[in-house]
Amino acid sequence: MAKFTTKPNELSKINLIPPQTEWMDTPVEIKEHMFCHPAKIKDLETVGFPNAREWKPTEEDWKLPDNWERTILEGMQSLLKKYRSFSLFMDICVRCGACADKCHFFIGSGDPKNMPVLRAELMRSVYRGNFTLAGKILKKISGARDLTVNVLKEWWYYFYQCTECRRCSVFCPYGIDQAEITMMGRELLNLLGLNIGWIAGPVAACYMKGNHLGLEPHTIKSSIDLFVDDIETITGIKITPSFNRKGAEILFVTPSGDLFANPGTYTAMGYLMLFHELGLDYTWSTYASEGGNFGFFTTNEMAKRLNSKIYAEAKRLGVKWILGGECGHMWRVLSQYMDTWNGPADFLEVPVSPITGTKFENTRATKMVHISEFTADLIKNGKLKLDKSRNDHLKVTFHDSCNTSRGMGLLEEPRYVLKNVCNHFYEMPENTIREKTFCCGSGTGLNASENMELRMRGGFPRANAVKHVHDKHGVNMLANICAIDRATLSASMDYWVPGVAVAGTTELVANALVMKGEIERTLDIRLEPLPGKEASEEVN
């Protein structure tokens, strides 16, 4: 496949003229750089997903099994029965259009089928045609249509052009959750083996090895050893973290991306430094070595299977509660699904910070605390010695992850932390943050390289808001609390707003953290000279 080479000034010329034909009569056009490679056979087979085969989205024949229509319709029927939300969302939309221009993919592409209302309609039309009397009789007049190969292709193309970010649902007067519709769409597509490689790969790796990247225990250890070496270079302090330690008070779980990809690794160094300074009785696990859950982007059952190891490991190690790192969708799963899927975690205690004594009542059900809540509580209680000036070279803004903001209401804690570790903090415009935050553009497993045009289009609204504070205040650091953000926003910034770097919030905490017995810091967490320390190095 040819490389994606379109320049930002070209890509930002968005064509808002809709096609001449009605949407139902406009066949889907599968465009290069807008879709991900299909799932690999071995990855689908690893987790027992059906119809693993070689196929190409751009070819006519998708090698669907016989009777595929029946498989989809029966699947749909069973989902309608199982989920009242789905059944409701298929019925109640009045097509007011409030959601239409709220989707980052629509804003960045101008493709009408990326209006959430129309993306949902791709499925609603089939629902009407097969499950409602009016639709069966009135057909097209009532907005109904048959399930054909072209409809299925349209589903695949557009349900993998939605990041389940739920921004549209904030504006929907009925509260229709488009993410749920996309989730159902992907659930049905998986019945036919219509998954993508960037999701199926991590799912299979996580199922076999405990994390998306497929890091084996000694690989995890070698990564953390490397961080420990770098921390010693920066602070003069040798940290000795523990792994799979029975009897630890706290199990720490974070996305594997933090262990193996920049700039996530700096966030991981931040965790290590913070926990060491607190003298926290905690352990890493090489079994529950993934906080994220790409299974969540396939089927409910797969997500549940992958999630089960977190409680299982907490039980095996006999910890009191679980602390979780910076990740987006991980927290949607943990705070809204884990307890009912794999709980109740009645073998754990309601989390209490051993440093401040604060009881995290909000986690009474899940027994799992977010690192930002934990850190904000430490700062509020004056337990951390912080030197904000170490972040003086940074002008910081904060990108709310879709899932932590809209999925769990974590809005103030990361901001409180950032304002306490940085002197220069600037908010992006009000309608692009908090519950109205714009997606990074590459969530739900769409952060591959072959769909770069889709990613840059989807990332455009967020980047535009960053550009605003970059131009106005000189913002040069985009802080966040999500591993996918760290991976994807770096690419998006390089493309749309060069000069803005990306960092996990805990990295900035670690920069400012004054540790007992540390040497005079001259380097930041990235081993770059701290502000004001460059010159003295040259003199020496």
Partner: protein, 111 residues
């Protein structure tokens, strides 16, 4: 999946040109792939390719750039253990290009 033909033998590669069967890799595949990019492999390239293969044997994953830089520095000295040197050797990025030549898969997930 597409195939590449090296010395009269067919090898399967994925959409991005990475080897599907890592066991089937032979040195001539790296040479073949580099020619496709208009590059001539030198001893310096081979040092990195061999390092990547050894690392993969041990850890079952391609190293992240941070590890690559550090380990190359340890074994081959600081003048080679830096990002600039590695990018000069492999302009498309040592992680992507060198791994492809070495027959390693690219990591997926939050990366």
């Amino acid at each position: 999946m597409p195939n590449i033909e090296v010395n009269g033998k067919q090898y399967e590669v994925d959409e991005d040109g990475y080897m599907v069967d890592l066991e089937a890799w032979v040195k001539d595949i790296a040479t073949f792939m580099s020619k496709g990019d208009g590059m001539e492999l030198t001893d310096a390239h081979w040092e990195i390719i061999n390092f990547l293969r050894d690392y993969y044997q041990k850890y079952q994953i391609a190293p992240m750039i941070k590890i690559l830089v550090k380990e190359v520095g340890k074994v081959m000295g600081p003048e080679k253990g830096n990002t600039k040197y590695l990018y000069e050797l492999f302009p498309d990025g040592p992680a992507k290009q060198a791994c492809r030549y070495a027959g390693l898969p690219k990591p997926t997930g939050c990366v």
